[in-house]
């Protein structure tokens, strides 16, 4: 049996391996089929139906992301039937969506908005269902904000949480018109097994799941003359920031980032690299200590193997899922929190500023750090060790708000 399949898409012939989906085959021909619930990282859902295409001879349209090719298929991706159906589906999604785009955090960066613009959905005939419904906004988590009124129920977040992260904090609840993305017993995100990793935020096509942002708080601190605002940047930020500011993805922009942070008005621009090294030294020492205690002194209280404690997402996952194995985890603080404690003790003394007037901000690649900074045990300096955590995306927003032309900045240290 042949392992390839021949088909035509919009009249163009293509030969693809068996098992390829119609949408992938179209992509090979350079034909873009719009998708919403489909994401290359995730298993196929086939539930938004935006990607429907026509198979000649069939009245039903196919979800191209979920349909494997077969020999002799004749596919049309832009027939009148397809266009009409696709417009209908986008209209349906919009009718159930809080489409108050100007008040949305994802305005300008939303896949549904993009589709609506592409298909020029200007004559919304359908009844606005979103208006007549009561939606909840869950803002209890220090990391993630969930706004059900913006949700299009594509279930990308559910699949991300389950398949990629194996956490399962998000799930589908209820059916029909009450179907929604929910948590265990519809508790707030802050009360369930969520590790605050933020992967759902990355995969959400709309503004239904967003990072809890602290941009205004940081601007206020910078503007306050009585405050000394220290900023630390995690290693990952310097390679992620460029992409948000129209540079090449993955480009290292350390110098420009430092320049930008100074121009934003931070009093002191420091690097988490320093405390990352400190963490490694501390964890290394702890490991040597444990090895000696466990292997030489045969003291079972000191557990091996020892895992890192650097990532707050990992720590919370461990606490929820493997509480019986917590003694295997290093007792060291993460680099962010070591930095925070140092900023309000050693550094405060060194520059002669009262620690209560120091505002410690960190720029981090993941939303779990926001949660970590808010943990009650992270107050070793006598104050909240890290006051605000911003993600790379929030820093990029601040840079844009300040009118800084990032690509023209000099490299600073």
């Amino acid at each position: 049996m042949s392992n390839t399949v021949n088909l035509t898409i919009n009249g163009l012939e293509v030969t693809v391996p068996k098992g390829t989906t119609v949408q992938q085959a179209a992509e090979l021909l350079g034909i873009k089929v719009p998708v919403l619930c489909y994401h290359k990282d995730l298993c196929i859902a086939g539930n938004c139906r935006v990607c429907v295409v026509e198979q000649v001879g069939s009245k039903r349209l196919l979800a191209s992301c979920a349909t494997p090719v077969h020999e002799g298929m004749e596919i049309l991706t832009n027939s009148l039937a397809v266009r009409n159906a696709r417009k209908h589906i986008i209209e349906l999604l919009l009718s159930e969506h809080n489409a108050d785009c100007t008040k949305c955090y994802r305005n300008g960066n939303c896949e549904l908005q993009e589709l609506a613009a592409e298909y020029k959905i200007t004559n919304q005939n359908l009844i606005d269902l979103a208006q007549s419904r009561a939606y909840t906004i869950d803002a209890f988590s220090p990391s993630i904000l969930k706004d059900d009124s913006r949700c299009i129920r594509c279930q990308r977040c559910v699949r991300t949480c389950d398949e990629l992260q194996s956490v399962g904090a998000l799930a589908v609840a209820h059916k029909g018109d009450h179907m929604k993305i929910s948590t265990f017993f519809n508790k707030t995100i802050s009360e369930v097994v969520c590790t605050n990793c933020g992967q759902c935020v990355i995969h959400c096509p709309t503004g239904a799941l967003i990072e809890k942002n602290y941009i205004e708080e940081v601007w206020a601190a910078i503007a306050d003359p009585s405050k000394h605002v220290v900023v630390q940047t995690a290693p990952a930020v310097r390679v992620g920031l460029g992409e948000e500011l129209d540079l090449k993805p993955g480009e290292r922009v350390t110098g420009k980032m430092v320049a930008a942070l100074r121009r934003l008005g931070f009093n002191s621009v420091l690097d988490t690299d320093f405390t990352a090294d400190l963490t490694i030294i501390e964890e290394g020492t702890e490991l040597l200590h444990r090895l000696k205690k466990n292997l030489v002194d045969k003291d079972e209280k000191y557990k091996l193997p020892m895992t890192t404690s650097c990532s707050p997402g990992w720590v919370k996952f461990f606490e929820h899922v493997y509480p019986d194995m917590l003694l295997h985890m290093s007792t060291c603080k993460s680099p962010q929190q070591m930095f925070g404690a140092l900023a309000k003790t050693f550094y405060a003394k060194k520059i002669g500023v009262d620690p209560q007037n120091i505002v410690s901000v960190s720029i981090m690649p993941c939303t779990a750090k926001k949660f970590e900074a808010n943990r009650p045990e992270m107050r070793d300096s006598g104050y909240k060790d890290v006051d605000y955590v911003l993600t790379t995306r929030e820093l990029a927003i601040m840079i844009k708000q300040a009118g800084i032309e990032f690509s023209d900045l000099p490299e600073e240290k």
Partner: protein, 393 residues
């Protein structure tokens, strides 16, 4: 009314307790012979979709899999159907025999009855019947066991792939097709899933031969069928009738003399107005039968005192609630249709808005993931088309 123009058939509920003999006799025949008999009988799925049963068994038999399963779909949830409940209460051994024979043919040793959650009380009588049947299987040397799986009350779980998901402990949501159950069913294994009534008919075919079954009905719609008859009729109940009758014949027998419409196939079926009674037959689509409507057996009669707007409103409310909610056209489309007809009725939208909704229902039909979303348009379109003035005024 009550003219008895239609012949009453008495096959399914006929009292027969020769279960062991029939099973033995059937198992003595080869698998090929049995499949040919079944295909020759012209039996099609009685859940409403009408897939040829013999072909389904044949495909599953030929499919490769570590294990195979036989599932009896007893999630009878279509509004207006109540025949499967009666079969399982009175002649469960016929269904069990059908499952066991199917198991032998396809190579399955395990079968399940997916029982609608609301039918939990049936297990009290059904379980002893299953136990008794297991003994018969042992006596005839057949390795086959049947378990009851209780559903939780969602309409969508009657859709075969959602039913598998439900049995696997997941949310009852239909899967993408292909692959079909014959290749990828319960636990990803080749699975035969048949309606209760379909399995009961196989008893008749194996006991009396395909000819007896084939002689009933018309071309492409062979055999008899159970009808759950309700609404404005003096004689509601379950009746076994030949396929191929016209709606007119049906109404003559079961109507109250003032029938204005018949809903064939429940909420997901079609509404036939009086003026079309003569032109429409009950059966599967085929060459000779002309316009024919398939049905899972739900027949609801409405007389002139009924508002078809209320009927449609009721169906749409049902669909809004019972859509699984995963795919856009079904989840949002059902809500738009419901809110839409309300808005037209209240004068908030012009009458022409019905045309907008009509086009929307076409999209739902073409793009929904499973049969539920695809069939909402059936009742919507047939009611709006035939009773437009009742929708507006």
């Amino acid at each position: 009314m009550g003219k008895n123009v239609l012949k009453r058939i008495d096959l399914i509920f006929k009292h027969e307790d020769d279960c062991k003999e029939i099973l033995q006799k059937t198992l003595n025949r080869s698998n090929d012979e049995l499949i040919n008999e079944l295909i020759g009988s012209g039996l099609k799925g009685r859940g409403g979709a009408g897939f040829p049963t013999g072909l389904k068994w044949k495909l599953t038999r030929e499919a490769a899999g570590d294990k195979k399963y036989v599932i009896c779909n007893a999630d009878e949830g279509e509004p207006g159907t109540f025949k499967d409940r009666e079969i399982l209460s009175t002649v469960p051994h016929k269904v069990l025999t059908g499952m066991a024979v199917c198991g032998r043919i396809i190579g399955a040793t395990e079968g399940f009855i997916y029982l609608r959650g609301e039918y939990r009380y049936l297990t009290q009588t059904l379980q002893p019947e299953i136990d008794k049947f297991h003994k018969i299987c042992d006596e005839v040397g057949l390795d086959f066991r049947v378990k009851i799986f209780l559903g939780y009350g969602a309409y969508i779980c009657g859709e075969e792939s959602a039913l598998f998901e439900s049995m696997e402990g997941k949310r009852g949501e239909p899967r993408n097709k292909p692959p079909f159950p014959t290749e990828f069913g319960y636990l990803g294994q080749p699975t035969v899933i048949n309606n209760v009534e379909t399995l009961a008919h196989t008893w008749t075919i194996f006991k009396y031969g395909a000819k007896k079954f084939r002689d009933l009905g018309v071309q492409d719609s062979r055999g008899s069928k159970l009808f759950s008859i309700s609404g404005d009729t003096p004689i509601p109940g379950i009746y076994e009738l030949e396929l191929g009758m016209t709606v007119e014949e049906f109404v003559e027998d079961f109507g109250d003399g003032d029938t204005k419409a018949v809903q064939v196939g429940g909420a997901s079926g079609f509404c036939v107005p009086r003026k079309k009674f003569r032109d429409i037959a009950i059966g599967y689509q085929g060459k000779l039968t002309g316009i024919s409507l398939p049905t899972g057996g739900s027949m609801m009669l409405f007389n002139s005192s009924r508002s078809m707007y209320n009927v449609l409103h009721n169906y749409l409310e049902f669909f809004c609630e019972e859509s699984c909610g995963q795919c856009t056209p079904c989840r949002v489309g059902t809500q738009q249709l419901l809110h839409g007809i309300r808005a037209v009725k209240r004068g908030e939208k012009p009458a022409s808005y019905l045309d907008t909704l009509f086009a929307l229902s076409e999209t739902m039909k073409a793009t929904s993931k499973c049969g539920l979303g695809q069939s909402v348009a059936n009742s919507f379109q047939s009611i709006v088309e035939n009773f437009r003035e009742e929708m507006i005024y």
